[in-house]
């Protein structure tokens, strides 16, 4: 393999990996803090992609339109997430009814998917990239599409922002405290309900962001729901439940490996996440280790 091909695949893989990480980070955060397995994550990703097509259709396929979609869609999705959390999920924490929680996120995924079909019809949409983002650069003989570079830079920025929020702000401190002992936190006078709403909204916003970024990479269809959900699940399991660093490593590794497998066999490439997961799980002795073991065990 020449250096040029290697770099080509590496860039593509990094882009893929970061998109994967956004959905997985949203899932992971909501699971780690709220103990809710958000089954609607795939639907949110799909919704993000569809909403991006709307924004760009209205504002135009310019850099402005694209930037607007990048900011507006996750914010709108997060607002929707906050609403869903307050109206549907909040009532379930007190009853500790995990079945109902899972059922509600499943219902949410049905409502989102149904809403998308209602608004956009059963067909597919596409978004074209603005001129400024659609070219490519030459680097050591490799072709680096501008958009891939943008995705990688965005990926690094958003990842840094997540870490900054979790470890550098008071909200992040409280979030990590809520993972450890929510009752104690609430007794100390922290508004845990508000915190939960915020975390859920943030998770939904991250998932939608993944959808927006992925939208120009191909046709935007309802198939995106399953296409996003399964790898996100796999990343969360591979990285360790509730473990953000693990999820980041798993997502980037899966993205890069999948990109190299594509070179050899495009048909088998979608199996990469499974292969990585199986190897990691076996190597870890099937223990499913996690940085947040209390939550993972308490939720049985």
């Amino acid at each position: 393999m020449s250096l040029a091909t290697f770099l080509d695949q590496l860039f593509a893989g990094l882009g893929l990996g970061f998109i994967l990480f956004f959905s997985a980070a949203g899932l992971n955060l909501v699971w780690g803090v709220l103990g809710v397995m958000n089954f609607a994550a795939g639907a949110v990703y799909m919704l993000g992609a569809f909403m991006a097509t709307t924004v760009i259709a209205h504002v135009g396929a310019s850099t402005l339109g694209w930037l607007l979609a990048l900011v507006l869609v996750p914010v709108l999705a997060a607002a929707g997430g906050a609403l869903a959390e307050v109206v549907l999920l909040r009532r379930t924490y007190r009853e500790h009814d995990e079945n109902q929680q899972f059922m509600l996120t499943l219902v949410l995924s049905y409502l989102i998917a149904g809403g998308v079909v209602l608004v956009y019809g059963p067909g597919f949409r596409t978004v074209s990239l603005p001129g400024a983002l659609s070219g490519s650069w030459q680097l050591f003989g490799a072709t680096l599409p501008v958009y891939t570079a943008v995705v990688i830079v965005l990926g690094v920025l958003v990842t840094a922002a997540i870490w900054g929020l979790l470890y550098g702000t008071r909200a992040g401190l409280l979030t990590r405290a809520a993972v450890d002992d929510r009752t104690m936190l609430s007794m100390l006078g922290v508004d845990v309900n508000l915190l939960y709403t915020g975390v859920f909204a943030f998770g939904i916003g991250l998932g939608a962001l993944g959808g927006v970024i992925d939208a120009p990479n191909g046709a935007v269809t309802t198939n995106l729901e399953t296409a996003a959900l399964v790898p996100a699940f796999i990343v969360v399991v591979t990285g360790g439940l509730g473990n953000m660093t693990g999820a980041l490593i798993a997502a980037v590794a899966i993205g890069v490996i999948e990109s190299f497998v594509t070179l050899r066999s495009p048909t088998l490439a979608p199996l990469t996440p499974y292969a990585v997961m199986i190897v990691v799980l076996l190597a870890r002795g099937l223990a499913g280790r996690s940085l947040l073991p209390d939550r993972a065990r308490a939720a049985t």
Binding site: W31, M37, V86, V87, L88, R90, R91, Y93, R94, D97, N99, Q100, F102, M103, L104, L106, V107, L108, Y110, L111, A113, G114, G115, V117, L118, P122, N193, T226, L229, V230, F233, I234, V236, V237, L241, T267, P270, L271, Y274, M277, L281, L286, G288, A296, R297, A299, T300
Partner: protein
């Protein structure tokens, strides 16, 4: 003497709401072709298939506390094995069905040996991933499975649903009834009791000498077999198998019917299957956007009867009605108060 006999029988069968609604449904099932038109007999056939899938999920989730989100994997293996053995190997349908159930049981035993050791959330996701992996395989191994265009079952005339609906319906009903009785016998057995002990208090069960992982593996294999029976019978009602038999939406249906009817009640998923099939049937008639309307209806049911229709009723019909009314009032009050946290 007689009193003892009766109390033993009720000990054997459990509370009436465990089995009575299911028994009533099977009775209704026997009479169905005499009561309704062909269209509804077909609906009855697919309801029976969904019932078995729901019971399979409930065996794991309701009785053992194991949340499998991949029962479609075993359903699909049952369906594909049956069709392929009939088409490619010339097997008799019933032999192929039994072989399909055996294949799924084997898969569940081998896969389960790893899966049942995982923590609950990894168990959910990996059972989900298993089904997705099989869907990928069925879709890509097109020389064997026909790929996305599906495999049409080459069944004899006697088992062709377009030739004789009622005959095929009764075949499905008879096999489904046998599987249901076997599954019910299992949950009422000592093994079923041990599983419930594990569900309630794993550590205590282990301390009492129950082999937790072996029991879990056992019920996982059994649930795989029940799901495969559902898949094999779906070959009769649908006459064709697509890779979508492995889709997560099917596993979601198993979950939905169980939650609709009542988790951990044997009749729960049976009642739930009837409700979901009726909802889908009438929604499908009036709208193409079934997902949205399904979602809205499910939302209403989750909010009004969160513990399932069977569990929410108190056994008697007036009790059920008052229970429902109370829940609706509570839900309305909760909504007005801005969903208290």
């Amino acid at each position: 003497m007689r009193a003892l006999w009766w109390s033993r029988l009720s000990l054997l069968l459990g509370a009436p709401r465990e089995w009575a609604p299911g028994l009533a449904l099977l009775g209704l099932g026997v009479a169905l072709p005499a009561l309704v038109s062909t269209e509804y007999v077909l609906l009855g056939a697919s309801t029976l298939v969904l019932m078995l899938l729901g019971v399979s999920f409930n065996l794991l989730f309701g009785y053992a506390g194991m949340f499998s989100f991949g029962q479609s994997a075993f359903y699909g293996v049952g369906a594909y094995a049956t069709v392929l053995l009939v088409n490619k190997a010339g097997f008799d349908f019933y032999v192929a069905l039994v072989a399909g159930i055996a294949a799924a049981t084997l898969l569940a035993s081998v896969g389960g040996a790893v899966l049942v050791r995982l923590e609950p959330i990894a168990f959910i996701m990996l059972t989900f991933a298993l089904a997705d992996l099989l869907e990928f395989g069925a879709s890509h191994a097109s020389s064997l499975t026909g790929g996305d265009s599906g495999a049409i079952a080459e069944l004899p005339r006697a088992l062709n649903v377009t030739v004789g609906v009622n005959r095929v319906y009764y075949v499905i009903l008879a096999i489904a009834a046998v599987v249901l009785v076997a599954a019910f016998a299992f949950v009422r057995s000592r093994a079923g009791l041990m599983l419930r002990a594990i569900r309630e208090e794993e550590l205590r069960a282990a301390t009492l000498g129950i082999a937790v992982e072996r029991r879990r593996l056992g019920v996982f294999a059994l649930a795989g077999a029940v799901a495969a029976a559902a898949g094999g019978l779906s070959v009769l009602s649908a006459q064709i198998v697509y890779p979508s038999v492995f889709a997560w939406q099917l596993s979601a249906s198993a979950l939905i019917v169980t939650l609709l009817g009542g988790v951990g009640l044997f009749s729960g998923p049976m009642i739930g299957a009837v409700l979901l099939e009726l909802i889908d049937f009438y929604v499908g008639r009036s709208s193409t956007n079934t997902v949205l309307i399904d979602g809205l209806l499910l939302l209403a049911i989750v909010l009004i009867a969160p513990r399932g229709v069977v569990a929410s009723g108190s056994g008697s019909l007036p009790g059920a009605a008052s229970g429902l009314a109370r829940r609706m009032l509570t839900a309305a009050r909760g909504a007005r108060a801005g969903a208290p946290g």
